[in-house]
Amino acid sequence: MNGYYITILHGAVLTVGVSLLALLVSIILGLLGAAAKLSGNKLLVALATAYTTIIRGIPDLVLMLLVFYGGTIGLNHLLALTGSTGNVDINPFFAGVLTIGFIYGAYMTESFRGAILSIPKGQMEAAWAFGMGRVQTFVRITAPQMVRYALPSFTNNWLVLIKATALVSLIGLKEMTYVAKQASAATRSPFAFFLFTAALFLVYTTVSLVALRRLNARFSLGAKRATL
């Protein structure tokens, strides 16, 4: 009985791994998406808008099943075309990381775009007037302030992303939800196992919330707050 709790804790490590890697993917896609949406290039704007609209209109689970099952068949077709006879199975870990990263990249695009838009335009113009290039302006002026404006919605996205990792259990990754379900089937006492898993998720979201609040306080230093 106790062994199952240890296995669930091992699964928790996988949950943390999937969520952090997916976060990395989503931040990269979010920055690219925000840059595309703000670029003014019609094609890029249309592409990024299609990405954010379509992804946000489809359930995470459906996309994940599409990538996992569809991707396996698609890859095997490709392999067959190249003349190889081997069969590949997509690793549920990478399918999960890529799908969740791809989905939350769409949400990150919107938070980063909003954050960049909230920075007064005069600051970037001042940087250009000082002779800074686009990259210098981004690194020195835009990025540090963008973090402050983006943090509240980033926090929300991160919490939703953590909870979305439970879905990876449905494509067979042995993270904690999966282990809890197996343990319940084996011992016929599902209540305690699911409660334990829920508590672990709650710990994870609580720790994230506290850490991100501190980060927010750090990045808001020197920001004037209007009081009524």
Partner: protein, 237 residues
């Protein structure tokens, strides 16, 4: 790609059944969730501190744990409790706990109630103090101020955030497919995938259905916002 398979009558019927289940789950959980959310929001902003903490803890747990685990806890977990086992064969209302639809519905309603309650409570707290003072100056009681002034305005101001919650809920109903013998749109797609081994066609069809449903819901909420929030819109003339 063999799209013709999707359009065979029996498969179209499968998707049709799925749409009915998904929409049924969505609207009933939203309805039950809305009633619960109203009660919870009033308690969250109410004068009784212990109830405030209790409801606060409830929304915290609901918003901090995955919906999938909540569904599992209710569907698999509650069935383990002897107290429920002793009752679910014949004593109403415990007989419902044997039905997958009811278990999914219960989990979804409790979940959306947690999110909606916090939104509504936020809107209630941010009601303009002048409006409340004016109502008190007219001699309205606490209950009257709530019913006549605070709630009508707070519910309207919650509309934009609530439209997000409704679209999120539509997508969350896909988790019903994780409960055996529930046939929603996602489960219909999974069945077609396993029957014909056509994952792209099956899941893209499901994705298209969800996409259309999301757009319809967003359009309805846009109309509702134009009607109910007209007084907050920027002046046109």
């Amino acid at each position: 790609m063999k799209w013709s398979v999707i359009f065979e009558p029996q498969n179209l019927a499968l998707y049709g059944n799925g749409i009915l289940t998904t929409l049924g789950l969505l609207f009933s959980s939203l309805g039950i969730g809305a009633v619960l959310a109203l009660i919870f929001a009033l308690l969250l902003t109410g004068p009784w501190a212990p109830l405030r903490w209790l409801v606060g803890a409830y929304t915290y747990v609901m918003r901090g744990t995955p919906l999938l685990i909540q569904v599992y806890l209710i569907y698999y977990g509650l069935g383990q409790l002897e107290w429920i086992q002793a009752r679910w064969d014949d004593i109403w209302p415990w007989t419902y706990f044997k039905e997958p639809f009811f278990c999914a519905l219960l989990a979804f309603s409790l979940n959306t109630a947690g999110y909606t309650a916090e939104m509504l409570a936020g809107a209630i707290r941010e009601t303009n103090a002048g409006e409340i003072e004016a109502a008190q100056a007219f001699g309205m009681s606490r209950f009257q101020v709530m019913r006549r002034v605070v709630l009508p305005s707070a519910m309207r101001r919650t509309l934009p955030a609530y439209s997000n919650e409704v679209v999120m809920m539509l997508q969350s109903t896909s988790l019903a497919s994780a409960v055996p013998s529930m046939l929603d749109v996602t489960a219909a797609a999974s069945r077609i995938y396993s029957d014909y081994y056509l994952p792209f066609e099956a899941y893209i069809a499901a994705a298209a259905i969800y996409l259309v449903a999301s757009f319809c819901l967003i359009a309805v909420f846009r109309l509702a916002e134009r009607h109910f929030l007209a007084y907050l819109a920027p002046r046109q003339h």
